[in-house]
């Protein structure tokens, strides 16, 4: 399998929380400031910071600063952030589709 388990693991752990999943969805639309995200989720700033830190550590989200103001932090969804997980799901699905197909062929040939 080409999906790197470590990445899939951290991705799933990061997405285990509904607030963080909502953040990923919102950032999927466009980059946003931490304050905007906190407002959208009705979360206090410290709680939002914790979620954003977890998302950054999992490699799903990046933090950037606009050139004109280093104090402002803009969060964006990392390109390909979900690809490892999607790869694992797709490959696992293919594995079983193929093997169950082989199982069916085997058992039905036997019964003839």
């Amino acid at each position: 399998m080409s999906a790197k388990p470590r990445t899939v693991d951290t991705t799933l752990a990061a997405l285990a929380d509904p607030a963080r999943r909502r953040v990923v969805e919102l950032l999927g639309e466009r980059p946003r400031r931490a304050g905007e995200l906190a407002d959208a989720l009705r979360l206090p700033a410290p709680a939002m910071s914790r979620h954003l830190r977890a998302l950054k550590q999992s490699g799903l989200v990046e933090e950037t600063h606009p050139e004109f103001d280093a104090r402002v932090r803009i969060y964006t969804l990392k390109a390909g952030a979900m690809s490892d997980l999607k790869t694992w799901l797709a490959e696992t699905e293919r594995l079983w589709a193929q093997q169950l197909g082989a199982f069916k062929a085997h058992i039905e040939k036997k019964r003839k």
């Binding site: 799933l12 997980l85 696992t92 699905e93 594995l95 079983w96 082989a102 069916k104």
Partner: protein
């Protein structure tokens, strides 16, 4: 969220299907698959007693894919699943269900990813991944249906 479900019907009773699935896995498993259980290939799979699922590699080495966690002949089989590329503490879970459908049996494989995902959170919030998975599942269902049609009538 991290579950993959694939199912198809076979012309056999649930007891027969369970028996062949577990006792003849070496014969039906296609080792030249899309990807491999270990870097040395899939080897020859077998259920050792009702304890574990192992594979024997060409060099004679035995790799434990997982431990059997449920063994209910004709109904359900569960085992943990670890590929050689996984980290030691990492495992996924596979459950195979055998359900009678007329004179056939529906065999359903459910492969769950890392259980970091509490079940309560699954399938909510219009999460994009769910959409992706449903589309994937549809795709394979179509493919499997076609596979079934191609088999010679018994």
């Amino acid at each position: 969220m991290s579950a993959v479900i694939v199912s198809l019907r076979v012309k056999a009773t649930p007891d027969e299907a369970f028996e062949v699935f577990t006792q003849e896995i070496a014969a039906w498993w296609r080792p030249k698959g899309l990807f491999q259980i270990t870097p040395r290939g899939d080897g020859v799979l077998s259920f050792e007693g009702q304890q574990r699922l192992i594979t024997t590699l060409p060099n004679g080495k035995v790799f434990e894919i997982g431990k059997v966690t449920a063994w209910a002949p004709g109904e359900r089989l569960s085992f943990t699943w670890r590929q050689a590329t996984f980290r030691p503490e990492q495992q996924t879970d596979v459950t195979v269900r055998f359900e009678p459908v007329g004179d056939e049996t529906r065999v359903t494989v459910e492969h769950r990813g890392w259980d970091a995902i509490p079940q309560a959170h699954v399938a909510r919030h219009g999460f994009p991944l769910m959409v992706f998975q449903q589309r994937q599942a549809e795709h394979w269902r179509t493919l499997l249906a076609r596979f079934g049609e191609r088999l010679p009538a018994v």
